[in-house]
């Protein structure tokens, strides 16, 4: 279903433009709506039936005739989706036309037009009461039939509107997300070709994503700065240029030279960044503690708690100087080609499309029982963070680098801010990936290992030795193997996926088993297919979670701290909800208790504290996949 995604306008146009004819011979006329409209005519009067048939053919419709109501009903049931509209006579010997009308409305929800020689007002009224779209008086003229397509279109539009309203954000979100995805992808992925190009315009328009998201009307709107990867990179490079200690918002703003960005935006972002760095350094110090984390995956059931622990432990280690952290962070951000560069990650993730898990190397680490293991909880957290990063100004990146650093270097100094460490991380990740390959789907494996290498240092991934990160990176099933969390995440994910099947997210495509990585950023990764979230989702769907994880890691990068994650998570939840229109098993997610704006400074890892504002949903396409993943992740929480 292509996702669904993009309903609303697009759906209308799709329906308009593509009526699949049941008869091959009529395919030619399908291009011009309403030609090719599939009509089922039911009338016991053979004369009328023949005339109607001819008239409808002249309107270039695809006609099927039936002289018995029972046969018609059968036809409709067995060939669901083969008809667009039903024309039925009122007086029929075997079944009352109104009864048929009711049945069709109940079972197939197709527009039904009644016909009759009876022009009495009461008869017409009865038709209306029974739900007829229209009531034509015999003899029917060709002109009247030419117009019946309007009922099909009208119904579709109403359906979409209903979805929008019920899903609360629904289309809006979808569209936004789709567009966001594209934008993000394109912004991140200069190299991505093809699909992104068309989206360029949109993305270009939103260059730095300093965007006043109006987004979802249903959500409280408030202009916020979207700290895209690019924007963040600029920020970080400005900070590094000035020196982390000397960086003041005013100067940073000047250096960044981004129109529309205010000092306040920068100030709050800087605050978050500082916290993030602190966390990173803390994690680094905890490098040695990593081994302690190697404990069984199962212990990570409580992600949040573990995550907290991890980060705190890491933070306590204090091995990594803030400057180095910042530098590393910058490096990660700024080197699309670098191993660690988060920016790289993004494009890689995007490009990889379903390829190898750009997952955080940490994941691998986790598998190995390295500190990374702990990452898991973090990862989940990261995701939201990353998402936030992308979409929101909330302190996303906090968790990200720190996590990566922490996890990457099993027991080693996280100072691996330098390339060497990165390499190590890469190796670790790679190893993990390899190990996990068995778990992974074949298709992803190679891709994963590839990507994981390059990605390595994704800050998000690195975040903490949490297993989650490792898992993500490992892509494929790393998650599940190591962590109960993962598993549960998987489960949730599947839950989500199944639910999301209808949503544009399509994340659901991933088989339940695959979801493990939850990192399903799939939508994110879609190589070069930034296409609307829906598509991205579908892409990832194939690749199993690992890829998704990648995505998540990508976005994750942005996420700074767990708290940041939380908001994302919430977002995801929201988005997810919106998407599928149904509530995923909100239970687990609820635990996260993310409520509130994502802008909260992630002072704690406590998941429960944050709730991503629905706004986030709008931001991002990434959300889509993310949310899917997150939900899974959150499930554990």
């Amino acid at each position: 279903m292509a996702a669904l995604q993009r309903l609303g306008q697009s759906s209308l146009s799709t329906s308009a433009s593509s009526y699949v004819s049941c008869k091959a011979g009529e395919m030619a006329v399908l291009d011009q709506f309403p030609a090719g409209l599939r009509v089922l005519v039911v009338d016991d009067d053979l004369t009328c039936l023949k005339i109607l048939e001819q008239m409808l053919r002249r309107c270039l419709y695809n006609v099927t005739t039936c002289s018995q109501a029972a046969v018609a009903l059968n036809l409709l049931r067995t060939k669901k989706g083969c008809f667009d509209v039903v024309l039925s006579d009122v007086h029929m010997p075997d079944m009352d036309g109104y009864k048929l009308l009711e049945q069709v409305g109940l079972e197939m929800d197709l527009p039904v037009i009644m016909m009759s020689a009876d022009a009495r007002v009461c008869a017409v009224m009865k038709g209306i009461r029974h739900g007829a779209c229209d009531y034509l008086i015999k003899p029917i003229r060709e002109e009247e039939l030419k117009n019946i397509w309007q009922h099909v279109v009208r119904r579709k539009r109403n359906e979409i509107k209903e979805l929008e309203h019920s899903g609360s954000l629904e289309d809006n979100d979808r569209h936004k997300r789709g567009s966001d995805d594209v934008e993000y992808a394109s912004s991140v992925n200069e190299g991505t070709e093809g699909t992104l190009k068309t989206q360029r315009k949109r993305s270009n328009a939103k260059e730095d994503d300093v965007d006043l998201e109006n987004d979802d009307p249903s959500m409280a709107k408030k202009p916020r700065v979207v700290w895209s990867v690019e924007l963040h990179q600029q920020f970080v490079s400005a900070v590094n240029q000035l020196g982390i200690d000397k960086a003041i918002p005013k100067r940073i703003l000047e250096l960044m030279n981004v129109p529309g960005l205010t000092r306040e935006n920068v100030a709050s972002h800087l605050q978050k960044f500082r916290l993030y760095l602190k966390r990173l350094s803390g994690v680094a110090q905890q490098g040695g503690i990593v081994s302690a984390f190697c404990g069984p995956v199962d212990t990570n059931v409580k992600l949040s708690s573990i995550g907290r622990f991890d980060i705190q432990a890491l933070a306590a280690s204090g091995q990594i100087a803030p400057e180095t952290l910042a530098a590393l962070h910058a490096e990660l951000l700024g080197r699309p080609t670098g191993n660690l560069v988060t920016a790289m990650e993004e494009p890689a993730l995007l490009q990889a499309s379903l390829q190898g898990p750009k997952c955080i190397p940490a994941e691998h680490g986790v598998a190995f029982g390295q500190p990374v293991v702990k990452c898991q909880p973090n990862i989940s957290k990261h995701f939201p963070q990353s998402i936030m990063f992308v979409d929101d100004a909330s302190p996303m990146f906090g968790a990200w680098p720190s996590n990566g650093l922490g996890t990457v270097a099993p027991g080693s100094n996280l100072v691996g801010l330098n390339p060497q460490n990165n390499n190590m991380l890469t190796d670790i990740l790679h190893q993990q990936q390899q190990r996990q390959q068995q778990h992974q789907k074949p298709q992803q494996q190679s891709a994963l290992s590839e990507s994981s290498r390059s990605i390595n240092v994704q800050p998000s991934c690195l975040v903490v030795p949490s297993r989650s990160s490792a898992n993500f990176q490992a892509g494929n099933s790393p998650v599940d193997q190591n962590y109960s969390y993962n598993r549960s995440a998987v489960i949730d994910y599947s839950l989500l996926s199944s639910q999301s099947n209808n949503s544009s997210l399509n994340v659901g495509q991933i088989s339940g088993g695959d979801l493990k990585t939850t990192g399903v950023l799939s939508g994110y990764s879609g190589p070069g297919s930034i296409s609307p979230s829906a598509s991205s989702c579908s892409v990832s769907a194939e690749h199993n979670t690992s890829q998704q994880v990648q995505n998540s890691t990508l976005t994750f990068r942005a996420a700074r701290q767990v708290p940041g994650l939380v908001p994302n998570v919430a977002d995801i939840q929201g988005s997810y909800r919106a998407k599928s229109g149904e509530v995923l098993d909100q239970g687990p997610l609820r635990n996260l208790g993310f409520v509130g704006k994502g802008t909260r400074i992630p002072s704690q890892l406590a998941v429960d504290e944050y709730e991503l504002p629905m706004n986030n949903l709008n931001h991002g396409k990434i959300y889509l996949t993310f949310s899917q993943n997150r939900l899974a992740l959150l499930g554990e929480l």
Partner: protein
């Protein structure tokens, strides 16, 4: 008779049918529906109409002959006859069905019987005229001519 003459005859004859009210604009619609993909459309439809109507009239006769007339059934038949006759443009047949339905509603057997007579009369008239029309058309076609398209200009 040469083709041109036959064609003129056909046109005149058709016009007379309209003027008499035997046929109405719906018949023209039928004729317009006829095209290369469906060259005998009108003839086929009219044939169907004849068959249907014959059946209906027989059913009506039988229904009204019953000791206990079921007016619902009678009404249903009349309704159908009305529908099909209007579809092909047999105006007078259609018009004769209207009082018929009223009598059915009133459950007036005699009224119904009278109406049935009227309907039958109109039906056979229409049938005759249409058959003549087709015969003329076939003659033209057999002579190598084409059927002139009718234009109603009252």
């Amino acid at each position: 008779m040469e083709v041109g003459q036959m064609q003129r005859s056909l046109v005149d004859y058709t016009k007379s049918l309209f003027l008499e009210g035997v046929l109405d604009g719906q018949f023209l619609q039928l004729q317009q529906l006829q095209d290369e993909t469906n060259p005998n459309f009108v003839a086929e439809v009219i044939s169907l109409f004849f068959e249907d109507s014959q059946r209906l009239l027989n059913d009506l006769t039988r229904a009204l002959d019953q000791p206990n007339v079921d007016f619902k059934i009678v009404d249903a038949h009349v309704h159908q006859l009305k529908g099909s006759s209007s579809s092909i443009g047999a105006q007078r047949v259609k018009n004769s069905c209207i009082p018929f339905r009223n009598f059915c509603e009133a459950q007036n057997i005699e009224g119904c019987v009278r109406c049935l007579q009227q309907v039958k009369q109109e039906y056979f008239l229409a049938k005759n005229k249409l058959e003549t029309l087709f015969r003329l058309e076939q003659q033209i076609v057999a002579a190598g001519g084409s059927i002139p398209t009718m234009e109603l200009s009252f």
